[in-house]
């Protein structure tokens, strides 16, 4: 029985991928959604690198995608770029937004390294530049920071972070 079910699943998966490519049925059309560019940063406290600290990243779209890492001997951490395929962008009335959050807990306190809601599902260069180079000094207070949107200059970005660039 289990075999039969998985057989059907495989058959459906094949059909889906086939028609997904040709776009024969609109309902199988998916669009790529950029959830996060590559992330690189260093965590320090009073200028001293903090190693062994767990850093998390949550990316929301249709659901939450979560990963985490631990800082190395020099306080460095990184996350890979992440993209998904989704039907949502092509649906009338769908206004789902991406949310990127990066943070860490240290000695019982939560530090927010990045909180951003991009205005779309494609990469934003100015945000990617910042995420590729995060200096996270835990003694610096979190602020809301506004910066340019290179792709859509009329709509600047705003993030919350303890990092400065």
């Amino acid at each position: 029985m289990k075999l039969a079910v998985s057989g059907v699943v495989v058959l459906l998966a094949l059909l889906y991928s086939e028609y997904g490519v040709t776009g024969m049925f609109g309902i199988f059309d998916k669009a790529e959604v950029h959830l996060s560019p590559e992330v690189r940063g260093v965590v320090t406290l009073g200028g001293e690198a903090l190693s062994g600290v767990r850093v998390y990243r949550t990316l929301d779209y249709d659901r939450e995608y979560k990963d985490w890492t631990v800082t190395d001997g020099e306080g460095r951490f990184s996350f890979p770029e992440m993209n998904i395929k989704s039907r949502r962008p092509k649906q009338l009335g769908d206004e789902t937004r991406v949310r990127q959050v990066i943070g860490l807990d240290y000695e019982g306190k939560n530090y927010l390294l990045w909180y951003f809601v991009p205005g779309g599902i494609t990469p934003r260069q100015a945000a990617s530049d910042r995420l590729a180079d995060m200096a996270c000094e835990l003694s610096v207070p979190e602020t809301e920071q506004v910066f340019e949107n290179k792709e859509h200059p009329d709509f600047p970005h705003s993030i919350f972070s303890i990092c400065r660039w």
């Binding site: 309902i27 989704s86 649906q91 009338l92 206004e95 959050v101 809301e144 009329d154």
Partner: protein
């Protein structure tokens, strides 16, 4: 009463889409420093956002039917409040349901029963959110804002606020569907200080539900923000990446910078010649024209008020059944009305892209079938993959 700028209205309409539950680590922020609204309004998040139906806090909001946030004015907007509303997945089903019913709105006029049910589910939470602000002295006015279904809900909220708190109300909608019938639109037109209804030419949503639902104001005035035509799904989008995207097309400081046009949607007299039916094609313009032709026929035959009244009180018949029965009666009454009915039905078939547009007879059954084809074509455009993943 002051109005908020087109840019600010669009910022609010999009901002409600950014609200979601905290992530699994409990992080929750609302970035607003990049928006012009942050210089005029503070967001009140102390009680969380307003939810319809299932209630509860953030975690449940995917399952709820409506959703709103409140902004409190400062400086030049001291004494002003903004309420921005959105619909959620479950309530979008109402947009694609051709067999809509009507129910009595807060002010007693006939409105879309689905939109009204969603509004009603939000009402207690709205009351809790708004009453403290509305009881303060010097309330200068309330601005209701919404995109898409949120626009329909904002319209019902505006009416309710007017009656409940007796304060001046402005309404700003982007790509909103029609909410009610003539009586509702008249009362909304009269009760709301300024009504800014924004549309894109190819946005299908402002075309539904079909007549007898009409937009307010009854003058048909709207801001048509682009020159697109036909029907396209992306024309409905709010965001900066959408084409054209309401954020992009209203990103100006003053309403006078936007093109205002007015098509009198109530009075145009349209009688359609059966032989010219092939001129009709699938577009928002023809959807309006078919509505006008239907109204003209009902008026010519003296059935207009009777149909409206019957539709309003509701009955076992669906609205299209009632219309089809009436047209069958009208067509049987005289040769002239039979011709006019035939002209209308032929154009409807051409609009709906039915292969054969020959009107074979004027029975209830056939007329009802033509209505199904017409409504079906329009709703299919709206429905395109609306079922969520």
């Amino acid at each position: 009463m002051r109005t908020i700028s087109p840019r600010m209205a669009a910022e609010f309409a999009e901002l409600v889409y950014q609200f979601r539950s905290a992530n699994s680590e409990g992080n929750y922020r609302i970035p607003t420093a990049h928006l012009s609204l942050s210089r005029a309004f503070d967001l009140n998040l102390s009680g969380g956002p307003v939810l319809g139906k299932t209630g509860g806090m953030f975690g449940l909001f995917q399952k709820t039917s409506g959703f709103a946030i409140l902004g409190t004015g400062k400086q030049a907007f001291l004494g002003h409040h903004v309420i921005a509303v959105r619909g959620t997945a479950t309530s979008y089903d109402w947009l694609t349901n051709a067999n809509v019913g009507v129910s009595a709105s807060f002010n007693g006029s006939a409105v879309h029963s689905g939109f009204n049910a969603t509004f009603t589910s939000m009402q207690p939470a709205l009351e809790r959110l708004l009453t403290p602000s509305m009881e303060q002295p010097n309330v200068r006015g309330l601005h209701c804002v919404g995109h898409s279904l949120g626009g329909a809900l904002a319209s019902l909220v505006a009416d309710w606020i007017k009656v409940r708190y007796r304060k001046p109300v402005n309404l700003y909608t982007f790509g909103a569907p029609r909410v009610g019938m003539v009586g509702y639109s008249r009362s909304a037109t009269a009760g709301i200080e300024a009504l800014h209804r924004c549309t894109h030419g190819a946005d299908p949503v402002p075309n539904v539900p079909l007549w007898p639902f009409i937009h307010a104001p009854v003058s048909g005035a709207e801001y048509r923000l682009d020159n697109s035509s036909g029907i396209s799904v992306s024309a409905h989008g709010m965001g900066e990446e959408d084409v054209p995207g309401y954020r992009n097309t209203v990103n100006v400081e003053d309403w006078s910078q936007l093109q205002r046009r007015s098509e009198n949607i109530l009075s145009p007299v349209v009688r359609l010649d059966y032989e010219r039916r092939h001129e009709a094609f699938f577009s928002g313009q023809w959807a309006d024209k078919l509505s006008a032709a239907l109204i003209t026929l009902l008026k010519d035959a003296g059935y207009y008020s009777a149909v409206l009244a019957q539709a309003t009180i509701g009955s076992a018949l669906t609205f299209y059944d009632l219309l089809a029965k009436t047209l069958e009666k009208i067509a049987a009454a005289s040769g002239r009305f039979a011709e006019q009915t035939k002209g209308l039905l032929g154009h409807m078939l051409a609009f709906a892209r039915v292969a054969v547009t020959t009107v074979v007879d004027l029975t209830f059954k056939f007329i009802r079938w033509v209505f199904d084809q017409t409504a079906g074509a329009l709703y299919r455009a709206v429905k395109q993959a609306i079922e969520r993943t």
